[in-house]
Symmetry: C2
Subunit: 197 residues, 2 copies
Amino acid sequence: MGGTDIERLIALLARLPGLGPRSARRAALALLRQPQTRMLPLAQAMEQAARAVKTCATCGNLDTRDPCGICADPARDRGLVCVVETVGDLWALERAGVHRGVYQVLGGTLSALAGLGPEDLNVGPLFARLEQGGVREIILALGATVEGATTSHWLQDRLARFDVPVSRVGQGVPMGGALDVLDDGTLAAALLARRPA
Amino acid sequence: MGGTDIERLIALLARLPGLGPRSARRAALALLRQPQTRMLPLAQAMEQAARAVKTCATCGNLDTRDPCGICADPARDRGLVCVVETVGDLWALERAGVHRGVYQVLGGTLSALAGLGPEDLNVGPLFARLEQGGVREIILALGATVEGATTSHWLQDRLARFDVPVSRVGQGVPMGGALDVLDDGTLAAALLARRPA
């Protein structure tokens, strides 16, 4: 199986989400075959990113600068704040390229099971922004899960005193999705959210 | 999507076998969340492995030393040489723990399609070992593919003059299967059920 250095590499790779022991070995082998052209550049990219990564104090995004590229971008509409659970959700919305405002990353949802309460959510900076004024709309883009819905309700409650419109992302049939593979909850939501054709 | 350092990290991760763009983003995010405890140790393990990795001049295995741990192990039977296509195949057989001899890693198979001829296979050291004497049996453990069978036939031909018994793993290797994806039990059965070629 190679030396302990190689075993250690495989063990660390196997801990990445999406890689199991088998695919970690395949990945390690691919890297070991090209140590100079493939493994060292990846190692250096990781070291650089690990040293440079910062959490944006304004919105909770991960970036190499604080404030992050989105918060620092003068072209983004600071009056439109989209609330998401994770940085992964923020990245997904950025790839879609449909949100021209800024974000607030909660870092999770309220979850009795996971023992996560309001104090664990990154909401302070959102309230601070609302108190400063200038926020015209808050869009809740939380997952359509029990925890996401619970968190949305709790946030709506806490946001009521600011007198700022709060909206939620629509629910329904995903683009390109066939109806017969969707769950009952999604179909019900899609039917309730129907609009004139 | 974060800074260019982060985008570069994602792009490099996405080139690993088994990771696509989506899982590369998930992996990058997991690493970025724990830069000190997760990303730096992995980066350092990669750098260390990249610096230390060597190809064993005797058998073609990848290890941090040359001769590799298997060739250097006095407990391994040098009279029993198992011929495999790749280091991944060698690792798979080592995990199965059924081969007490040594290996010869060809680094591929004869393949007209891939333009690989006899000169591309790492067979020289095997012939050298045979000329030195002391080899009692050669086990061909190549994949049950067209290329694997072609290579086995070609090798048998080249090995005939040495007057050393040549066997092939047979039973247990499914048609069209590569060795390194097989379970340990199948590999053990294939090795134990080897027959004269």
